[in-house]
């Protein structure tokens, strides 16, 4: 092809005929902005739906929920209930992770015990636990103990199973390499096995967080003689949807924040990964 500028230009079809994809810097809308627009559209739809089509006894528009939320922040009883739920979440999460990692390591690193216990753990994990919630109340009463215990049983098995799977996926070459360089059992554990499992442990933590939120809040709502359960029950029975929605929003915000903390810790500690 000739290097002549004019001739090469003439080979191009006229601009108007080509549908050109806009270059990155020309695109007006970024994905982040699009996301915000979608969220705003959803809130607007909720507002319009609740205001003009909903029954005010059962649904409240977001504007009223926001007002109710500010009001709730001043109600001492509600704040104590939410704080208590948060405390239960954190305790259940910590216990589930520590216990899960310890059991996961003990079972996963030992071929004999893995063979013996793995099927039992999988079976328990598969049981829908909400069916035995009344048993928890009988055993632990209606206080924080039930909620924490229910949060733990909802999460600890996921941590154990994730860890056992992670142990199976440790690179055998690295184990062999450590052995060839003279590592003893303790050194293999500290320098190969545990660092290999860091991403696995964080995966387990994310699952544990989801399980703990489910378990603790389920128990909170089920036991309605005190705490968050009492308030949701009260607000629902007295037809105050704005307050009910505000309380739910508060709990959802707490869940989002806890999940986000988990994700940030993971990003911090697995930087070498990917």
């Amino acid at each position: 092809m000739s290097m002549n500028v004019d001739s090469s230009r003439s080979l191009r079809p006229p601009r108007s005929l080509v549908k050109r994809r806009p270059r990155r810097e020309e695109r007006r809308l970024s994905p982040g902005m699009a996301r915000i627009l979608v969220i705003l559209a959803m809130v607007a739809a909720w507002e319009i739906g609740a205001r003009f089509f909903g029954d005010p006894l059962f649904v409240a528009p977001p504007s009223q929920v926001a007002v109710a939320l500010v009001g709730l922040l001043g109600v001492k009883g509600v704040m104590i209930a939410v704080g208590m739920a948060l405390l239960e979440l954190v305790v259940a999460f910590a216990v589930a992770v520590v216990l899960g990692v310890a059991i996961g390591l003990a079972v996963g690193l030992n071929r004999f015990w893995r063979g013996a216990l793995y099927p039992i753990i999988v079976t328990i994990y598969a049981v829908p636990q909400s069916t035995i919630l009344p048993l928890f109340v009988l055993l632990f009463g209606i206080g924080a103990a039930t909620k924490i215990a229910f949060g733990i049983t909802h999460s600890v098995f996921a941590v154990i199973l994730t860890l056992i799977a992670g142990i199976q996926n440790i690179d055998p070459t690295l184990l062999k390499c450590a052995r060839a360089m003279g590592a003893n059992r303790r050194q293999v554990l500290v320098s190969v096995i545990l660092p290999s499992l860091v991403p696995t442990i964080f995966t387990g933590m994310r699952l544990a967080m989801a399980g703990v939120l489910l378990g603790v809040l389920l128990a909170e709502l089920y036991v309605s003689s005190a705490g968050v359960g009492l308030y949701t029950q009260t607000f629902a029975n007295s037809m105050q949807p704005a307050k009910l929605f505000a309380l739910v929003t508060l709990l959802a915000a707490a869940a989002v924040i806890l999940n986000e903390l988990c994700r940030m810790a993971e990003a911090r500690f697995t930087r070498w990964h990917s």
């Binding site: 390499c177 590592a183 003893n184 990964h273």
Partner: protein, 279 residues
Amino acid sequence: MITIECEKVSKSFGPRGSPHRTVALDNASIDIERGELLCFIGPSGCGKSTLLNIIAGLAEPTSGEVLIDGTPVNGPLPRKIAFVFQESALFPWRTVIDNVKLGLAFQQVPKGERDDRASEALQAVGLADFANHYPRQLSGGMKQRVQLARALCLGTDILLMDEPFAALDEQTRMVMGEDLSVLLARTGKTIVFVTHSLVEAVFLADRVAVFTARPGRIKTVLSVDEEHPRKQSFMKSAKLAEMRNELYDLLHDEVRKTMELRGEAGESGARAQSRGLRR
């Protein structure tokens, strides 16, 4: 002086008496001189890597034994033997320098000495500038250099390398081979090197042990009479070409036999061959 003695080493895999039991290695015997570079070459599955692992004490022979300086091998000997693996055996969460130091840490070398020896080894393989990189930031060739540095800094008399350049492209492995020859000529180590590449074997080795198809036996041992470090001119020499051809003839039938056992050879036999024998 002989430093590694393999005496009738056999290795079988699978349960005893089962039809699935395979004999990977059948009465392999070879004596390896102190300071020599010996290459194992043979068709896939002929047990050359298995023998290397047995010498390293990372696998147990089914029968026979390996002696290092007269003592039977009975587990890893980290102070005598360093091992370079085929695939990247670097710890991904450790930086390059920390990877190199790890073996020294396992052997409780004092911290100051660890730093010095690791830096020196990285220098020797030309990666001093990459000390604080993570393995994922390195190319395949660089990763294998780090592995080599890690093995070298352990200061062992023996270096075992299991197809260290297998995952590299031909041009990279050519340069790696030249560098290795220069580096190793200085150290005076005893080296056993497993490879699939005929040219690599002749270019690097003092002797080349040719394995038969499974069950693997040592068919013959060729001597390469050429001074270390090997020069570029040797790579282009008629002598190297001639020895490569000799190896080709020795291996050709064995590779074909291996392929036929697996049902891979046939009409496309020529292609299968060139896959098995990297020329």
